[in-house]
């Protein structure tokens, strides 16, 4: 291979870059720029807004305390839409806006597409959410720059364990109605893997895959009812879940069956009591607004949020808070290690973030060495409470699990882990 030509091209490509490369130790009083990518429209729009509130809360606190290692934080917010458009916007944030870190992303479709681009372009990123197993294994085996706030299947793992804990022996026929994308597919596969792991005799009578944002689920509801399952596992989320609940209630699908909704907490306040019976298993994951054991910080946030929006927050706020916190602690650790001489590079900050422990809104968590976070998860059966017009978790039956028990070990294979690990329920 004629090396001359290649080095010529490489040199030519690098030439326009030379002037733009960040200088070491540039003016340290320049604020740190944090790029946020969150959905602001469409089915996931409200989820993105809750995440942005979490960011707002975190940044208010950081700047009030004098910033990150003495530098104020300012935000550049971009919208998360389709994988392709979001990739372009991430590139804009990095190349044009020159942000120090990117945080955000809710949908797994987007996160999976974006991951390799961020890795290859060496952009420090902490995902809020949207990190589904299968794709991640293929696309980001050992990420250097991209950190993930959890494994997305944690909620499915916990939902499966909850179903087995509460209802073992009470169901044979099972059905799934899960959103038609990587997240829904993997959640359902995880649930079935757990039934096998615990040797639970079962028969799958229906598998429905409605499109995200499809909204009309009348026919899916009729199909599910025709299959007549004892238990339905559904990782439906976003605006589709209230629609499923309402149409299911009207068609008489909900009564007399056991329901597991690991992602119900994502839109808990729009699941009104009038059409959402009690006794289902709901996942509130890393932030449950009415947690009796909540930390003072979490209580402060929930009240701050309620005062601002007249609504109750869900876990996306915690994911956003957690992402900011991990990055902040990473920067401070790296600055300390480097001494006063120079500001640390993003590679050094990324290295410092590995293994860091933080206290987030939902409880203690840590960023593992492999860049996947472990956090505290909350799920349980629901009850109706006269104070709220939507079901809440039965305070006597709330289960909290540490991420360690819900995630594959570092470098492990998810499906093998389910088959072999010990789970105490």
């Amino acid at each position: 291979m004629p090396a001359t030509r290649r080095s010529l091209l490489a040199g030519a490509a690098a030439a326009p870059l030379a002037g733009l490369l960040p200088m070491p130790a540039i003016a340290q009083n320049r604020p740190l720029r944090v790029g946020i990518i969150a959905p602001r429209a469409g089915v996931a729009g409200t989820v993105g807004e809750v995440g942005l509130r979490g960011v707002e809360f975190a940044v208010e606190k950081i700047n009030a305390a004098g910033g990150v290692a003495g530098r104020r934080v300012e935000l550049v917010i971009e919208e998360e839409t389709s994988p392709r458009e979001t990739t372009e916007r991430a590139r804009r944030l990095a190349l044009q806006e020159r942000v120090d870190v990117i945080q955000g992303i809710v949908s797994s479709g987007v996160s999976l597409a974006l991951g390799p681009v961020l890795e290859e372009s060496r952009i420090l990123t902490v995902y809020w959410d949207g990190t589904t197993q299968d794709g991640v294994n293929e696309t980001m085996p050992r990420s250097r720059w991209v950190f993930r706030s959890t494994d997305n299947e944690c909620e499915a793992v916990m939902g499966s364990l909850m179903a087995i804990k509460h209802w073992r022996g009470q169901f044979v026929t099972v059905a799934g109605i899960n959103p038609d994308y990587s997240y829904g597919r993997n959640n359902w596969a995880a649930f079935i893997a757990f039934l096998k792991r615990f040797n639970i005799e079962h028969r799958i009578v229906a598998e429905q895959w409605p499109r995200v944002g499809g909204m009309d689920l009348t026919a899916n509801v009729a199909a599910l009812k025709a299959a007549n399952p004892d238990l339905v596992f559904s990782s439906m989320l976003f605006a589709d879940l209230p629609v499923l609940m309402r149409q299911g209630h009207a068609a008489g699908l909900l009564e007399g069956r056991k329901w597991v909704f690991p992602a119900a907490g994502f839109q808990h306040t729009s699941l009104k009591r009038e059409f959402t019976p009690a006794g289902m298993i709901f996942g509130h994951n890393t932030l449950y607004f009415a947690d009796p054991q909540a930390s003072p910080l979490a209580r402060e946030f929930v009240e701050w949020y309620h005062a601002k929006t007249n609504d109750w927050p869900h876990w996306e706020a915690d994911r956003a808070f957690f992402a900011m916190e991990v990055w902040r602690r990473g920067v401070e650790k790296a600055v300390q290690a480097k001494g006063a001489s120079a500001w640390p590079s993003n590679a050094e900050i990324a290295e410092a973030m590995r293994g860091i422990k933080v206290v987030s809104l939902g409880g203690p968590g840590r960023m593992r060495r492999d860049g996947i976070a472990e956090q505290t998860f909350t799920q349980g059966p629901t009850v109706h409470d006269p104070r709220y017009d939507f079901p809440i978790l039965d305070p006597a039956k709330i289960t909290k699990l540490d991420g360690r028990g819900l995630q594959k070990p570092e470098g492990g294979d998810f499906w093998k882990w389910i088959a072999e690990a010990q789970f105490d329920i």
Partner: protein, 330 residues
């Protein structure tokens, strides 16, 4: 100077300017130009059907998706790193789809043709979207960084690769395909295509096999679409079903009309203008689609010849003697 020589000089000058762009623009703006090449190639194909053949396809995004997915499959499944292999695979796949679809659609014109192509495009979209195990569903398939003419450029990171070798590669390929298209529309085949557009019955009497001519034009435009699609997929690193959605087909037609479907270079100008306009609008307002819609409506109503027709339109306005009747592509 003869018209041919002048045109060649203009084309060379444009090429030279474009080739120098990575040095003049920053990294970000250079990456912004990459989709222009992909779209320009696809639009050349679409305009063969639309401007020269009089057929509006509302399903052409399907072929861009085929090119993109071919790039994904050749890199990840077949383990062929070469971009040329991806392009070849894309063209073959596009032809494999275009042959049955084209055979059906070439029997129709106008609205029926538009509707049928839309139906086939969405059939393909639902195939991409639903067959999760094969196509990755909504998350699509990853497109790996390819080698170009056997070179790996492993010492460049992704951005350097894109704004360096890949940029010039796309520019060269776009130039080559534009030249081929120029030859095609000025061949006897191009003449037959225009003849069937202007008057299919008369063309038939004169010995033009109308359906066959349309069919061949459809195949050529499908192949161009696949090449453009593969090119679009490399910078984003992704082939996703959105590429095949019908509104994307609408956007392709929009770009063609924006540049001017009656001119050979119209689509090229349209791709450039659209990409830059959209980027600018998106930073200004979240309601950029509204603005684009207004732009499209204004062009259709006031300047159906697109940007390429603007000078003639203005001349006609200020010199009433000159007329600006819409002239079909020659």
């Amino acid at each position: 100077m003869s018209g041919g020589l002048r045109r060649a000089l203009v084309a060379l000058a444009v090429l030279a300017v474009l080739a120098a762009m990575p040095f003049a623009l920053g990294e970000y703006r250079t990456t912004l130009l990459l989709p222009v090449f992909g779209y320009a190639i696809a639009l050349l194909g679409i305009n063969l059907l639309f401007g020269y053949g009089g057929l509006v396809s509302f399903g052409h995004a399907m072929f861009l998706a085929i090119g993109a997915y071919a790039a994904a499959v050749s890199g990840t499944v077949l383990r062929l790193a070469s971009f040329e292999a991806a392009l070849g695979l894309g063209v073959l796949a596009a032809l494999a789809v275009a042959i049955p679809v084209g055979a059906l659609c070439a029997r129709y014109t106008k609205i029926f043709f538009g509707m049928l192509t839309l139906a086939f495009g969405m059939l393909f979209h639902s195939f991409l979207f639903r067959l999760y195990d094969i196509t990755g569903g909504d998350q699509g398939l990853r497109v790996r960084r390819p080698t170009l003419l056997g070179f790996e450029f492993e010492d460049l990171d992704k951005t350097e690769f894109l704004i360096g070798p890949f940029y010039w590669y796309c520019l060269a390929l776009a130039a080559l395909l534009a030249w081929l298209m120029w030859r095609l529309v000025h061949s006897p085949f191009g003449l037959m295509l225009r003849a069937q557009r202007d008057n299919p019955r008369k063309a038939e009497y004169l010995g033009v096999e109308v359906a066959r001519t349309r069919f061949i034009a459809f195949l050529v435009s499908a192949a161009y679409g696949a090449v453009g699609g593969a090119m679009l997929a490399v910078p984003t690193g992704l082939a996703d079903p959105e590429l095949a959605y019908w509104t994307h087909s609408g956007t392709l037609i929009f770009m063609t009309v924006l540049g001017g479907f009656a001119h050979f270079a119209g689509p090229l100008l349209g791709a450039l203008t659209y990409v830059l306009l959209q980027d600018q609008l998106m930073t200004w307002t979240p309601y950029w689609r509204l603005v684009l819609g207004v732009v499209l409506a204004l062009i259709v109503l006031g300047c159906p010849q697109g940007l390429m027709g603007l000078p003639a339109l203005l001349r006609a306005r200020f010199r009433p003697s000159a007329t600006a009747r819409p002239v079909p592509a020659e």
